[in-house]
């Protein structure tokens, strides 16, 4: 698994030298739905996941703090 992740990081890293999208070409990338994060309205759903599921992190959500034990 770790090898695959490292490989993916390296592929993405190398790709940066291949593609440069200019500011004036980013109209589609600047669409609000293209943001690389959860929307604010999803925050309470993400919090519920962090309480009910053992896994957390790597999604911009809670990684600690608070009980969530009910």
């Amino acid at each position: 698994m770790i090898k695959r992740i490292v490989l993916l990081v390296m592929v993405l890293t190398l790709s940066t030298s291949c593609v440069v999208v200019k500011e004036y070409e980013k109209v589609n990338l600047n669409d609000p739905d293209m943001v690389l994060a959860d929307k604010k309205v999803d925050r309470n759903i993400s919090t519920a996941h962090s309480y009910r599921e053992a896994a957390s992190g790597a999604n911009g959500g809670k990684t600690g703090g608070g009980c969530g034990c009910n």
């Binding site: 604010k40 309205v41 599921e53 992190g57 999604n59 600690g64 703090g65 009910n70």
Partner: protein, 438 residues
């Protein structure tokens, strides 16, 4: 752990070296945030299931929670933004009510929430964060301070992050760290409290006013926790990359270390090698959940978003998680925003989640009293879950609709159905309103 950190830091260092060419995109300095924004978020959450941890893996998991949150973002100048995030959450739950199942008017039963005073609680949170962006907007620093409290729990958190953009803002790397210092006000199952050091045991009011059935010589070997602190240290790395005019992705790595009281003090455990005692229909605890006082977690996640055309976007997410309690987990989700008009967008989505069980989990009456660690909390069991959501969004970039001098920028509504394969089912309705101060 060291190996992963070394790899990630090496890759990020290489990336930094590649991307150190001067950024020629700076033309003028645009304000990071044009004007004050106020967001109101609210949600209604409801769940039920048959495997309550408070009653040792059997019993009602019914819980209702209503939240309200205000987020105010204030531009202090061209570069700096102060954000205040204040929220409350009011809940009623079978798990909190059955800490004391004998304080209601009906016979105690693990499948019925007690109607006593312990059934509800209030959680409140206040977070302040401050961010500063460099003149060319390629460097962003932020710091935050948070406080949250509920009846039996208090948490203080501090954190900070640094984000670097380069390669004409095609590439972004970030690092963030957070520390949470939490304190329990430990509440134990009511029938165990008389057996703490100095307690009256079977001479306490609970046992003189109620009749024990089954094993009438109820005598749990119970000791309270010495340490009621819980500390969490989180370190996160982020990397995002534009891959084409319509495609971008990101990777995130979170490393989390926890120590202190990681057990939940009111969650009961029943041992198979100890005779069962009851009051009414409620089985008296043999002990409470006992878990190790350290836990290390690693989560690796990736997002890939593709702009198909003016109507459709595809948003995907995957995460792998593992920890030293024996849990491994996969999470995958896909969302396809559909733009109906320039103001309305629909958000259908699906999410899959699974996890293996913690080494210390076993079902009701599955543990032995000779075990060192044990829990019957089904949140730590093996299961998979499916989630379907449907949302709708209204956006008006011109903020024509006003309340006083607040212009309405967007409204978001979402309904989510979440089903585990171990009886727990939940639904949540969320709403968000965003205003801009004129």
């Amino acid at each position: 752990m060291k190996y992963i950190s070394f790899i990630v830091l090496s890759v990020l260092s290489i990336q930094l070296a590649i991307g150190q060419a001067p950024d020629s995109t700076q033309v003028y300095k645009k304000r990071v945030l044009e004007s004050t924004e106020i967001e109101f978020l609210s949600s209604y959450y409801n769940q039920d299931g048959d495997n309550a941890a408070v009653s040792g893996g059997i019993g009602s998991e019914e819980l209702t929670d209503v939240t309200a949150t205000f987020i105010v973002s204030i531009p202090l100048n061209d570069d700096d933004v102060l954000t205040i995030d204040a929220g409350i959450s009011a809940y009623t739950s079978a798990s909190s009510s059955n800490v004391d199942p004998f304080d209601g008017s009906n016979p105690a039963d693990p499948f019925v929430a007690s109607s006593g005073a312990s059934q509800s609680d209030l959680w409140s949170n206040l977070t302040g964060s401050y961010s500063h962006s460099s003149d060319d907007r390629n460097d962003i620093w932020s710091a935050k301070l948070s406080v949250s409290a509920e009846y039996d729990y208090f948490s203080v958190g501090v954190g900070g992050s640094y984000t670097k953009l380069f390669n004409e803002k095609n590439t972004e790397i970030s690092i963030n760290g957070n520390i949470y210092l939490d304190t329990w006000n430990a509440l134990y199952p009511t029938e165990l409290r008389p057996f703490e050091v100095g307690g009256n045991g079977l001479n306490s009011n609970l046992f003189t006013q109620n009749t024990i059935t089954g094993n009438t010589n109820y005598n749990p070997n119970f000791t309270a926790f010495d340490n009621e602190g819980r500390n969490t240290y989180a370190l996160g790395f982020g990397f995002s990359q534009i891959l084409s005019k319509n495609l971008q992705g990101s990777l995130a790595l979170d490393l989390v270390k926890q120590d202190g009281l990681l057990s939940t003090p009111f969650q009961r455990v029943y041992f198979s090698d100890i005779a069962d005692s009851f009051i009414d229909n409620f089985q008296l605890a043999d002990d409470i959940e006992r878990l190790p006082d350290t836990r290390s977690k690693i989560a690796v996640g990736g997002r890939l978003n593709y702009y198909i055309n003016e109507t459709f976007v595809v948003r995907t997410f995957y995460r792998y998680y593992t920890d030293d309690w024996g849990i491994k987990s996969h999470t995958a989700s896909v969302e396809v925003p559909i733009k109906i008009t320039d103001k309305f967008t629909l958000y259908p989505s699906y999410r899959f989640y699974n996890q293996t069980a913690a080494d210390y989990f076993d079902v009701y009456e599955g543990h032995l009293s000779t075990n060192e660690f044990y829990t019957s909390d089904y949140d730590l069991s093996k299961y998979s879950a499916n989630q379907f959501s449907f949302g709708a969004s209204y956006t008006d970039i011109f903020t024509k609709f006003h309340i006083w001098n607040l212009g309405l920028k967007s409204i978001d509504l979402k309904y989510t159905q979440y089903d585990r394969n171990n009886t727990l089912s939940a639904n949540i309705i969320t709403a968000g309103f965003k205003f801009v101060l004129d």
